[in-house]
């Protein structure tokens, strides 16, 4: 019986060899792909196993970490002034993942980034605990406070930029949320809070400054004016525009109305922007045509997503519209839609003498020991206007603030340029109009801030909603905050 016994022994040996081979296959060959599966909760556990790095504004952390007991996840994320900073930081929840800066810079914050290799190796020898690196933002705490306070319980958003660099100084969105309320993973409170926020019809989780596009209304006339100058339609902003009143939309039997009885007949560009003539700017759009208008809008950043590095939705200026549609789009109606960030970019390009800087909000990434591992350098995005034309548009925008619809944004001792917008909303204008205000401030050292404010909804009655009245004061506060913090 020994021969079959030996064969059985070989068979048993083969069974063990098969197991050993399989073991090598899963633990050596496929280990990496198994470890990066989205079903693998170890990734989340590891993410919260160490103290997470911080997101820093003006030298102070707006985030923190606390130890949680009785959970697989050792550290829980906390935020200071959560609702105010949420549109900047995003959230990092043990149960619901991470968004925005918390997500995009996760590898730095967790300390797993390859760029932290030397730091990690060093702390291995010194025996320090593993710690995450920091994300230093470009935001200005005072400006953010002013923006958040200005929006108050209204629904809306603010985006403020430094025109010279493109650095984002404020980014507020209301209603907001406190990411601390669902940072953990308890099925009781955290899940309940998150579901409540998610199902809220006011969409508190939406970052309106980046991810919501609104019809920009009259605020878009700044772009239309730039297009007129850039394409040589008018040489000067002080000569009459040869535009009739009433002005009939091309290929249509309808007149384009102005908001009220405005002195728009043959008005100069300065006057037309000051009182916000639909007829003048509609005619400019129709005269230039869809292609030229769209080319100028795209130079300002329309029709493409912006990465700050948090992605911003693409603002829209449509292609292939006829003359009447182009005319309506040129006064910020019809298909035109813009994010608050986009409109802040428009104001900043004008303030920066025609050069549009790429918006960004991460100044640098640092290792736990505060060594810089990456720095964002200001970058030119495009040049929508020549310097000469930009200064013409500045003159127009400054007239809006000194003598026109934007009077509420005046700051003593500072030159302010702005443009209001009251955009129709809904079918047949049924919804409350959106109140816009875009502006920039200028001191002797150039322009430190450009800002866009949109108030989507408020308790004000319909007649009282206007860009200048609702959004203007918020823009003024944000600009003052930036100027005061520079002193």
């Amino acid at each position: 019986m020994n021969k079959p016994l030996r064969r059985i022994a070989i068979f048993c040996g083969l069974l063990v060899v098969a197991l050993l081979l399989r073991d090598n296959w899963i633990q050596y060959v496929t280990a990496d792909s198994l470890n990066s599966r989205k079903e693998n909760r170890r990734v989340e556990i590891e993410r919260y196993a160490h103290q997470r790095g911080d997101i820093i504004v003006d030298g102070k952390a707006v985030t923190g970490s606390t130890v949680t007991k009785g959970s697989m996840y050792k550290y829980k994320r906390t935020w200071k002034d959560g609702p105010m900073w949420a549109p900047v930081t995003g959230y990092a929840s043990q149960a619901f993942g991470a968004t925005q800066l918390e997500n995009l810079n996760d590898s730095i914050l967790t300390g797993n980034d390859d760029r932290l290799f030397f730091d990690r190796t060093a702390s291995m020898f010194t025996g320090e605990k593993k710690q995450g690196g920091n994300v230093v933002t470009t935001l200005n705490a005072d400006a953010q406070k002013a923006a958040f306070k200005g929006l108050g319980d209204k629904k809306g958003a603010v985006a403020a930029l430094d025109p010279k660099t493109g650095a984002i100084l404020a980014m507020a969105s209301t209603p907001s949320y406190d990411p601390s309320t669902f940072a953990g993973n308890s099925t009781g409170s955290d899940t309940k809070n998150y579901t409540k926020l998610k199902d809220d019809k006011n969409e508190p989780l939406l970052n309106r400054a980046l991810r919501q596009t609104y019809p920009p209304g009259s605020a878009f006339k700044v772009v239309t004016a730039s297009a007129a100058l850039e394409n040589g339609l008018y040489d000067s902003v002080d000569t009459p525009t040869r535009s009739p009143l009433p002005w009939r939309l091309p290929l249509s039997s309808k007149d384009l109305p102005n908001e009220g009885n405005l002195p728009c007949k043959n008005a100069t560009l300065v006057e037309a922007l000051r009182v916000s003539c639909n007829t003048v700017f509609g005619k400019i759009g129709a005269d230039l045509g869809n292609d030229k208008m769209r080319a100028e809008a795209e130079k300002f950043g329309f029709n493409s997503e912006q990465f700050t590095p948090v992605r911003s939705n693409a603002s829209v200026f449509s292609k292939g519209m006829d003359k009447a549609q182009t005319a309506l789009s040129s006064i910020g109606q019809f298909n035109t839609a813009a994010t608050p960030l986009q409109m802040a970019m428009v104001a900043s390009a004008v303030a920066n003498d025609g050069t549009l800087m790429k918006p960004y909000m991460v100044d640098r990434l640092t290792a736990p020991n505060l060594d810089t591992v990456a720095k964002t350098d200001p970058e030119k995005q495009s040049e929508p206007l020549t310097k000469e034309h930009a200064q013409m548009v500045q003159k127009m925008m400054e007239a809006v603030v000194t003598r026109g619809t934007g009077g509420k944004a005046q700051i003593p001792g500072v030159t302010v340029g702005g443009k209001t917008g009251t955009a129709q909303n809904g079918v047949n204008n049924s919804g409350n109009p959106y109140a816009w205000f875009i502006s920039y401030a200028k001191t002797d050292q150039g322009s430190p801030v450009a800002v866009a404010v949109v108030v989507e909804d408020s308790n004000a009655s319909r007649q009282d909603i206007s860009g200048g009245g609702l959004a203007g004061p918020i823009a003024k506060d944000v600009m003052s905050a930036v100027i005061n913090s520079k002193k």
Binding site: N2, K3, C12, L15, V16, Q27, L34, N40, R41
Partner: protein
């Protein structure tokens, strides 16, 4: 010249008993297990676990009792079997204790620490091991119980049908609060029955057959028991939805039949019949079908919705990588309630890594190898058959469980012998080792030396 020249009175050269080797290895096995236990405590709480004295003493006592009984009652036994079993049992205890510390498992309903029970069951297992060595002076006594074993095996296998199914399989019986998996004990009983039956019938099966297409076809009356076993394993599969046990019994039977008859044709028959049975059952038994689907695509949506255990187990192995995370530092508890029983190997994979898992697999391989060696050394056909049957069953069980947990074959829901939490498994496998040790003792025992021959005296050459 000092050459030994007494050629006539060759006394049996005494085989070394190797009891001291066994003792050394046992010390080693206990030390590794206690070290593992201490390691878990240090990793999780940063201090030596408070139970380390009790645990160490308990394991040492078990090993010592086992060793003393072997030294006294089976002095020529194989020296590796006891230390290997002790090592696996000890490591299993450390890992079960480690999983007891998991906050995730503690939050689950009906949580109770499993390690104290496991230590108790290990003691019962070693007691049974001692009982086998004390009562079974010679393994050939078991031959007398051939048919009684069959009846016992049948009863054990049929019993779970009268108890409610747990986790989709009917393989448990509940008596007085204890949950017993009779399949583990039936494994031994059926090996005894096969050995006795085949020893008697082997010539009939091997020789009285017609040749057909290169294969030896057995006579119908000899084929009968084979068909009965085939049907039985399929019935187990259908009624108890226990893929593992049916595979184990059928594999066991084919192996023993092949060894008894030395005819390859039996293997062919066995494979054909098991394939037919498996395909037949898989087509109309949804439980089996699910297991196969889960094996083919562990990460598919449908599988994850059904059960993500295999996926979680694979991710556990992946997380371990080559060197593992270290005891107490992995997250194999994500697998859930089965982490300390069916899926205990996944914890080994994650916390001890590829190196540790291969070591464990090799230890299992060594136990099988010592069993096969015992079969080779045994002098009687019954002992040979019983030894190969028991070690073959052990090998198949290890392959089926480890292969299932590692995604090599469909998951069947059996336990890793000695390591997995579960009373029946530990107790039955200690008994299995006891029988193997008894057979190896008989096999290696030196033949009694012949009585001194008075003639030798006469013919002695005396040099001047």
């Amino acid at each position: 010249m000092s050459v030994v020249t007494n050629t006539t009175t060759i006394g049996a050269i005494e085989a070394p008993s190797r009891r001291n080797t066994e003792l050394m290895l046992l010390v080693f096995a206990v030390a590794i297990s206690v070290f593992g236990y201490a390691n878990v405590g240090l990793a999780i709480n940063g201090s030596l676990p408070s139970g380390i004295l009790g645990y160490g003493t308990g394991l040492t006592l078990l090993a010592a009792v086992g060793h003393i009984v072997v030294r006294k009652f089976a002095p020529y036994a194989d020296p590796l079997l006891l230390p290997l079993a002790t090592l696996l049992n000890g490591i299993g205890l450390a890992i079960i204790w480690r999983l007891d510390q998991s906050p995730l498992l503690q939050q689950a309903d009906h949580y109770a620490p499993a390690a104290p029970n496991q230590l108790m069951y290990s003691a019962v297992g070693v007691a049974l091991f001692v009982g086998v060595l004390l009562l079974l002076k010679d393994h050939r006594i078991l031959q007398r119980y051939t048919y009684i074993s069959m009846v016992v095996a049948m009863l054990l296998l049929v019993a779970p049908m009268f108890f409610p199914a747990k986790f989709g399989a009917r393989i448990w019986i509940n008596i007085a609060g204890f949950s017993i998996q009779p399949g583990e004990f039936a494994k031994i009983a059926i090996a005894v029955f096969f050995s006795g039956y085949l020893m008697v019938k082997r010539d009939a099966l091997a020789l009285a057959s017609r040749r057909f297409m290169g294969l030896y076809l057995p006579r119908g009356r000899d084929l009968g028991p084979i068909l009965v076993i085939w049907l039985m394993s399929i019935l187990i599969l259908v009624f108890e939805t226990d893929l593992g046990t049916s595979l184990l019994f059928f594999g066991l039977f084919v192996v023993m039949l092949y060894v008894a008859t030395e005819r390859t044709s039996w293997i062919v028959f066995g494979l054909i019949m098991s394939a037919a049975g498996a395909v037949g059952v898989a087509t109309f038994e949804p439980h089996v079908q699910q297991r196969v689907d889960a094996w083919l695509a562990p990460f598919s949506k449908a599988t994850l919705a059904q059960s993500d255990q295999v996926a979680k187990s694979l991710m556990s192995f992946g997380a371990g990588g080559t060197m593992g995370t270290g005891l107490g530092q992995g997250h194999s508890d994500l697998i859930g309630f089965a982490a300390n029983s069916d899926f205990i190997l996944a914890t080994v994979g994650e916390e001890l890594g590829l190196a540790g898992t291969m070591a464990i697999l090799v230890i299992y391989g060594l136990i099988v190898e010592r069993g096969v060696r015992t079969a080779l050394a045994a002098r009687d056909p019954f002992g040979k058959l019983l030894a190969i049957g028991l070690s073959g069953a052990f090998a198949i069980q290890v392959f089926v469980v480890a292969g299932g947990v590692m995604g090599l074959i469909p998951l069947t829901g059996m336990t890793m012998p000695f390591m997995a939490q579960g009373g029946s498994s530990v107790i039955a496998n200690w008994a299995l080792i006891g029988i193997l040790i008894r057979i190896s003792d008989t096999a290696r025992r030196p033949a009694p030396s012949p009585a001194p021959s008075p003639d030798a005296e006469m013919t002695q050459v005396v040099r001047p």
